[in-house]
């Protein structure tokens, strides 16, 4: 088997690309894409740990896979609500540039 750090390095790189996207993009939808990339990086870690590290309790043998399934579900809910918010903001303020949506900033 490939050593575990290979997967962890890939996940770290993906997480940091997503972090850069979430921090540096202007467009709210692009920020959401960065967040999706970060969630996926976490999922890679979960699956890699499932494959390489065995939990003590036999009833939790598939914990990593089930956690990943829940993370995917949560990501879908998060994307649905996030995009609904972006559409609502676009409709009322005619922009999806997060720098122009600063009504509550001091």
């Amino acid at each position: 088997m490939i050593p575990l750090p290979f997967y962890l390095t890939l996940a770290a790189a993906l997480f940091c690309i997503g972090l850069y996207g979430a921090l540096a993009r202007r467009n709210a939808i692009a920020i959401l894409m960065g967040i999706e990339l970060m969630l996926n990086a976490v999922n890679i870690n979960l699956i890699a740990f499932w494959r390489y590290v065995k939990p003590a309790a036999p009833t939790m043998d598939l914990a990593g896979q089930i956690f990943a399934l829940f993370v995917i579900t949560l990501a879908a809910a998060e994307a649905a609500i996030g995009i609904a918010l972006i559409i609502a903001i676009y409709r009322s303020r005619d922009t999806v540039n997060v720098e122009e949506v600063d009504l509550m900033k001091w």
Binding site: L69, I72, T73, A84
Partner: protein
């Protein structure tokens, strides 16, 4: 186990290369004599540049109802994800799991009922 996916990888490789070869050959062999109507976006006699300015904006606004349909689709897509392992393990699980799944589906049916009640399933 993983090497059984070698076939899939081979198939994917062929699927990429097979259409790429004729495209590449055509690109090498074909004569290159472009003119204005050949380079037009739509080769149907109408020049894109002749359209009125507001029709040239190709970024048309889509209706939000498309998004609502996609939302409902996402919810039932995820329902399938949890239904499948339950269905595979059904014989080993018994009545209690059936009740659990009925509750799960019932709650998701509420979501569909809400959308239906609000009239979002009709195209207006």
């Amino acid at each position: 186990m993983l090497d059984e996916y070698g076939i899939v990888a081979l198939f994917a490789f062929v699927a990429v290369v097979f259409p790429a070869i004729p495209l590449l050959m055509a690109w090498v062999i074909r004569p290159k004599k472009p003119n204005k109507s050949k380079r037009a976006t739509y080769e149907c006699g109408l020049e894109f540049e002749d359209f009125p300015a507001e029709a040239q904006n190709v970024w048309v606004q889509f209706r939000v109802q498309y998004f609502i349909y996609a939302l409902i689709f996402v919810v039932f897509d995820i329902e399938v994800v949890f239904l499948y392992p339950w269905a595979v393990a059904y014989n080993a699980l018994g009545l209690f799991a059936l009740i659990e799944m009925v509750i799960f589906l019932g709650i998701l049916a509420l979501a569909l009922a809400y959308a239906w009640r609000k009239g979002l399933l009709e195209w207006t």
